[in-house]
Amino acid sequence: MTISEYLKKFEEKDIRALSKIITIVEEGLEGSEEILDYISKKTGKAYRLGFTGPQGSGKSTLIAKLTKNLLQRKKRIGIIACDPSSPFSRGALLGDRIRMSELFLEKEVFIRSMATRGSLNGLAYKTKEVADILDAFGKEVIIIETIGASQVDVEISNLVDTTVVVFVPESGDGIQILKAGLTEIGDIFVINKSDRMGADVLYYELKNLIEMSYQNSKWKPPVLLTQAINNQGIEELEKAIFEHYNYLKENDLLQEKRKNMLKRELANNFEQEILKIYWQDERIRKKFDEIFLEILNKKISFSEGVKKLLKEVKND
């Protein structure tokens, strides 16, 4: 099939076409630029939710239960679940779907697993593009799940409107959370598996942290207790998400946020393209190797070497 044939089927809401288009873009195959151009004109209607939190916190189960609720409101949902690629084999075991099997026969739910393929920010490289595709397809809510939070998994907040951070009672003390920067990116905090010991302690710690960090904020992230596997706390989560959505809308923050997201994306892409250009330049690579050897053999200093390299680039 040609790209335009795929896009035509995409317009007709064909699932296979959607899936194939995602693959083309994810893999960067021929036609992905054409697709992205087409898509970019049709995005902006979907509400994007991010779920992050340590592995084992139950994000996938929470997402599944939340989706079940959203389906009752007749929403069309797209889910992107990210899992890490093995640094050794470059393969991946994508198992987030296991917790979502109650959604497999739902017509309005599309689930796509993505391996990070070397990306280090908890998401796959093309996560944003795939979210855009789901948006253009007509999905009203797009949920993105990171692989599991570490200090680096804060990138998700740049891709979505609302970020939900999911902990479990064993998630370590408040200081660790502060260090990880997670309190800065969370719009909603959830303590899942809240029947386990330590849930209360973590709850109060989080609440205190939030009091301190968000003193002058209009939006104070709520802390919710859930037991996803028993369907407990899901309605409260849904409510909190809608409240955050309303907060963003009423304060014109939704547009602001998306504006910033676009700017950031433009900057990132621009940077990447520039880097590509320079690294692909044979002449610059040669100069780089030369200067490297000069520094190595102590013919010039490090900062001199950098200046020399820059001059070379500027002369272009």
């Binding site: 699932i15 899936s19 084999s89 991946a92 099997s101 689930i111 697993s113 391996a115």
Partner: protein, 133 residues
């Protein structure tokens, strides 16, 4: 040419024996493939829906409960119905040779016996794609 080959490892029906499926899933991951595993008690419809959404290249069905003559044909039928016959189906488990023959006739790929090495499965997958290109 695609960078990554994606395989769905499926446990259909009521069969709860997942030792083989899990070992194969892990082995394929270690061989560099992207593997999707959806857990137990999948119906053929669930399997095909997943295969299509994830745009997998192959579905590997693990079945030891004797229900293979119902499950495989149903998966093939659904793939045809949804216009996804380019997804290759193979499998493994407890399947007598007689039944294997019948399934091969229907278009199922290789059916592996107990005792198969992971490396055999990896070779099979790689050869399949080498032949295709």
């Amino acid at each position: 040419m695609k960078k990554k080959i994606k395989i769905l490892i499926a446990k259909p029906g009521l069969d709860g024996h997942d030792r083989g499926a899990k070992v194969v899933a892990r082995g394929l991951r270690d061989a560099g493939f992207e593997v999707i595993y959806t857990g137990l008690h999948q119906t053929p419809e669930m399997i095909v829906n997943t295969a299509i959404q994830e745009d997998v290249d192959m579905i590997g069905i693990s079945i030891l409960s004797g229900a293979h003559m119902t499950i495989f044909p149903e998966v093939l039928r659904l793939l045809k119905e949804k216009g996804a016959t380019d997804i290759h189906v193979f499998g493994g488990g407890i399947i007598p040779d007689e039944d294997k023959e019948k399934l091969y006739q229907m278009g199922v790929g290789k059916l592996f016996d107990p005792g198969t090495k992971i490396s055999e499965i990896v070779e099979y997958i790689n050869n399949y794609f080498k032949d295709k290109s």
